[in-house]
């Protein structure tokens, strides 16, 4: 009998990360710019898509992958736009992983799409832990969630490119200090681009749309 210690260095998510890389390369080859919308349940992810899609649709073909644990409520809300939507039900799993995204992408008419939105499962924890091969990570944080979410759930703010602070129309009813929200977010990730919007009233949604278009131009130059 003996005891030995072996040094390994193996990534337990290697299989997921490999598929994520394949997703990333396929979208790159097809010149589709993709956005992964993450955030708490009720942060306004679907509402933001409802506000965003009409502007994008006028210029480019777009598609959506909807991730939910169960049900098709979100994809039903987007049906009116007559764009390709794939609903993924994770069946209890709290996040979308690279394989689910791969299956979603396979169902989309990729030659008709220039911009792809992924709406992740409503959750501030798990979606951040998995690479899925989507170009831009967007965290939606609504002002009704309080001022401290970035500090309590740092990873999702660390890995995101943009934070959409949503529901600014409710500021007049709440004691929430939006400056404090911004300060907290920037202590976690000083490079995070913050855009304050109200998907309900449409206030400042144009800044978010301009971001998408300017990223699309950059993406196609690269």
């Amino acid at each position: 009998m003996g005891i030995k210690k072996i040094n390994i260095g193996k990534n337990l998510l290697a299989e997921n990360d490999k598929i994520a890389e394949e997703n990333f390369l396929l979208l790159k080859e097809k010149r589709i710019l993709s956005f992964n919308l993450m955030g708490s349940p009720g942060a306004g992810k679907t509402k933001i898509l409802e506000r965003t899609i009409p502007y994008i649709k006028k210029k480019f073909g777009c598609g959506v992958i909807e991730g939910d644990i169960a049900g098709t409520f979100d994809s039903k809300r987007l049906e009116k736009f007559k764009i390709p939507i794939v609903q993924i039900n994770t069946g209890g799993v709290c996040h979308l992983d690279a394989f689910m995204i791969k299956k979603g992408i396979e169902k989309l008419p990729l030659d008709e799409i220039k911009i792809l939105f992924v709406e992740n499962v409503g959750n501030l924890v798990c979606p951040a832990e998995f690479k899925i091969g989507i170009e831009k990570n967007i965290v939606v944080s609504s002002i009704t969630e309080g001022e401290d979410k970035s500090v309590k759930y740092p990873l999702i703010f660390k890995i995101s490119d943009v934070c959409l602070i949503n529901k600014t129309d409710l500021l007049k009813f709440l004691k929430t200090d939006i400056k404090k929200i911004e300060r907290n977010i920037l202590t976690i990730n000083k490079n995070l681009k913050i855009i304050k919007i109200s998907a309900e009233t449409g206030e400042n949604v144009s800044a978010w749309i301009n971001y998408i278009f300017s990223e699309y131009r950059k993406y196609n130059l690269g």
């Binding site: 009998m1 003996g2 005891i3 030995k4 210690k5 072996i6 040094n7 390994i8 260095g9 193996k10 990534n11 337990l12 998510l13 290697a14 299989e15 997921n16 990360d17 209890g92 799993v93 709290c94 996040h95 992983d97 924890v125 798990c126 951040a128 832990e129 998995f130 690479k131 759930y153 740092p154 990873l155 660390k158 890995i159």
Partner: protein, 89 residues
């Protein structure tokens, strides 16, 4: 919930490794994660011990998690595994 994915992958990996190394028992596993990950040592061990009940190879193994501030990847790395073998080789 995502702990389940990690633990399931870990068990598969340990079973394969043990066959290769002819291990009798796995004693401990060191995992390295980024400092912001929500993975938690106690929670991971709880899920692991429930999944390896009556599995003589793995049932006594303990998982240790280290968080390195310089480790900014979202990978979950098995750094080392300690095991009991027939002759220690």
């Amino acid at each position: 919930m995502h702990e389940l994915t990690i633990v399931t992958n870990l068990i598969k990996f340990l079973e394969k490794l043990s066959r290769k190394e002819k291990a009798k028992k796995v004693l401990s596993i060191n995992l390295k994660i980024n400092p912001y990950s929500c993975l938690d040592e106690e929670n991971i061990n709880f899920i692991f011990s429930n999944l390896v009940k009556n599995n003589r190879l793995l049932e006594n193994a303990k998982i240790y998690i280290s968080r390195n501030i310089d480790f900014i990847s979202r990978e979950v790395i098995v750094e080392s595994v300690e095991m009991e073998t027939e002759n220690g080789n």
